[in-house]
Amino acid sequence: MAQSKDFHIIAETGIHARPATLLVQAASKFASDVTLSYQGKDVNLKSIMGVMSLGVGQGADVTIKAEGSDEEAAMTTIAEAMATEGLAE
């Protein structure tokens, strides 16, 4: 059963720069496939270039899905990273 969670981006810079790096680092720790969806496009959350190519700005609504052996842990870690960095709510 894949994990899926919606986030509303509140960070002023959106998912750029440091926040993008942190999310990619968080996702890369897990074996599961993790995807970030925004405006109908899906990208691999382990790919810095994929994430940055979406150009997610402040106020965007995104969905993150994790699927694989450690999907629950992956989703928890990513949600924590979002919260501690003040990225999303």
Partner: protein, 571 residues
């Protein structure tokens, strides 16, 4: 084969070492068709891995030399190299199109670069395009098995040879291994030259031909005292320069012994020999060279290195850090000198025909007083932590000084009322406009001190820009016209019992120092590495003899005549 050429002597000393060319190698290749897909894909994996290893090392070196924040860009490079989508796309291309790894890397990275470059409204993304270009060069270098220069990875003694050095290049340099610097471009005041002097690395810049005449591994002599360069010297030449290098180091060691001594003339008159700084980070060199004060703290760098007008607290922190380090020794802080050739991205000033004669320095401060008041408050607060003097730049008239002083007194009164501790602040002006120099006797009644800024004073007096090669010959610091202005200012100040400093390059110039000692200048402020040399020179000078010399120089006719007078009197 031995080659000789000449450039501009930019940093003292003589370096002899193998050349290390900081020039991009040829990364061109042909598109080819391949049959063994797996082998080609393995080449990609190997190149990515080798590139990551390089970047890890560079990152570690940058962290050590520059700090974690500056090294963060390399973390971005590592993430690009580890990007599964990018490596996946490259391998997919090799499989689908049966092309060589080089071509596949180029096609995929070009795709990303054009995607990020197209985001023209997003500066951050455009910088990432630059990161990808950088990373691509590195991957290709490994595929093509040519070595990319990595200044951070140098591990033997070298002379660094390049077209020009950027701040990020110099930041990666390891002083232990980089013995000399040789460039095609630049002048004495270029970034590379200033860094070289700060790091005490001998340097010759602006040689035009360094990168074309020198190959990796050539033995190169860089004479930073004369600007001479010798490539692959014969045994005799090598021995001559080895001796010259040793003599210079011995001389410098001799100067170093004067670090904790006072600056006194042969007959026992004391002077202050101080250093000029642009930021708190320059204080290490100030202390290492035994400076007896900071004669010029150029605060505009606080504004230039920020992306917003620095707040009162940000400024306070910087000023406090500097005065605390100097303790009782005086620190002269010049209020902001933006305009002229110094601009801010976040605060656009009007375009002007003639910016050096336009809206700059105190002229801006007195017009946009909010910004000036913020700076004055930060300075007044910081005065409690040391011996802080405030200096206004580009003062032309008494009315300007009085207006600036009035604002200062208003802010001071507000802070006093709020119970802020305030130190004993001296208030002075920079003498760089001839009008102020001529009227120095009147100014001397109202200011606490003068500081003569010779670079601009000479430029404005001779009406010549020394950066303009065609008129650079007019930059004549020893021209009797300039010396008379300086003498007028010193005499006017002393008549009122006021203090006179000099903070231009002339203050550390071995030809000018005897004359200035003769005229009775109180403080000499210069780039930190010149402090000990000047102290050493002063020890040999007798003030009565120098007074006679100065009188002769003031009565001379030309710049060259004055040089000859000084040479004859001090040999």
């Amino acid at each position: 084969m031995t080659k000789n050429f000449k450039g501009i002597a930019a940093s003292n000393g003589v370096a002899i070492a193998k050349a290390y060319l900081l020039v991009d190698p040829d990364l061109s290749f042909e598109k080819t068709t391949i049959t063994n897909v797996a082998a080609e894909q393995a080449r990609v994996d190997d190149a990515l891995k080798a590139s990551s290893n390089d970047v890890q090392l560079i990152k570690a070196k940058a962290t050590e030399n520059l700090g974690a924040a500056e090294a963060e860009v390399f973390e971005a490079h590592l993430m690009v190299l580890a990007d599964p989508e990018m490596s996946g796309a490259i391998k997919q291309k090799i499989e689908d199109d049966k092309i060589n790894a080089e071509q596949a890397v180029k096609e995929v990275t070009d795709m990303y670069i054009s995607m990020f470059d197209a985001m023209t409204d997003n500066e951050y993304m455009q910088e990432r395009a630059a990161d990808i270009r950088d990373v691509t060069k590195r991957i290709l270098s490994h595929l093509l098995q040519v070595s990319l220069p990595n200044p951070a990875l140098i591990n033997e003694e070298v002379v660094l040879v390049s077209k020009d050095l950027t701040p990020s290049d110099t930041a990666q340099l390891d002083r232990q291994f980089v013995k000399g610097i040789l460039t095609d471009l630049g002048g004495r005041t270029a970034h590379a030259s200033i860094m070289a002097r700060t790091l005490e690395i001998p340097a010759v810049v602006g040689s035009d031909q360094a990168t074309s005449e020198v190959s990796n591994g050539d033995i190169v002599i860089v004479d930073g005292l004369t600007g001479d360069v010798v490539v692959n010297p014969d045994a005799d030449t090598l021995a001559t320069y080895q001796k010259k290098s040793a003599d210079f180091l011995a001389q410098r060691a001799e100067w170093a012994k004067l670090k904790d001594e006072k600056s006194v003339s042969a007959d026992g008159k004391e002077f202050i020999v101080g250093a000029n700084i642009g930021a708190p980070k320059d204080m290490q060199a100030v202390l290492d060279n035994g400076s007896e004060g900071v004669g010029l703290y150029r605060t505009e760098f606080l504004y230039m290195e920020s992306d917003h007008l620095p707040t009162e607290d940000e400024q306070f922190d910087a000023y406090k850090a500097v005065v605390e380090k100097m303790g009782e020794k005086p620190v002269t802080v010049r209020t902001m000198d933006i305009g002229g050739d110094k601009h801010l991205d976040y605060w656009k000033l009007p375009e002007e025909e003639n910016p050096f004669l336009g809206y700059r320095a105190i002229r801006i401060s007195l017009d946009q007083t909010d910004i000036f008041r913020t700076q004055l408050r930060a300075l007044i607060r910081a005065s409690a932590f040391g011996n802080l003097w405030i200096m206004f730049p580009m003062i032309a008239t008494l009315a300007e000084f009085r207006a600036a002083k009035k604002i200062y007194l208003e802010e001071r009164a507000k802070l006093e009322k709020a119970g802020t501790t305030i130190g004993e602040i001296k208030l002075g002006i920079m003498i760089e406009i001839p009008a102020a120099a001529v009227l120095a006797d009147k100014f001397a009644k109202e200011v606490d001190f003068f500081s003569i800024g010779t670079n601009d004073l000479i430029g404005y007096t001779m009406a010549a820009d020394r950066g303009n090669d065609r008129v650079a010959y007019l930059y004549q610091p020893y021209n009797p016209s300039i010396l008379r202005l300086i003498n007028t200012v010193i005499a006017a100040a002393h008549k009122e019992g006021k203090f006179v400093a000099m903070c231009g390059e002339m203050a550390g110039d071995p030809v000018a120092v005897p004359l200035l000692v003769g005229m009775g200048l109180d403080e000499f402020s210069m780039s930190a590495p010149s402090v000990l040399q000047t102290r050493s020179l002063m020890k040999k000078l007798d003030t009565a003899e120098m007074k006679v010399l100065a009188e002769k120089a003031l009565d001379a006719e030309t710049n060259d005549e004055v040089i000859q007078l000084v040479v004859d009197a001090t040999k």
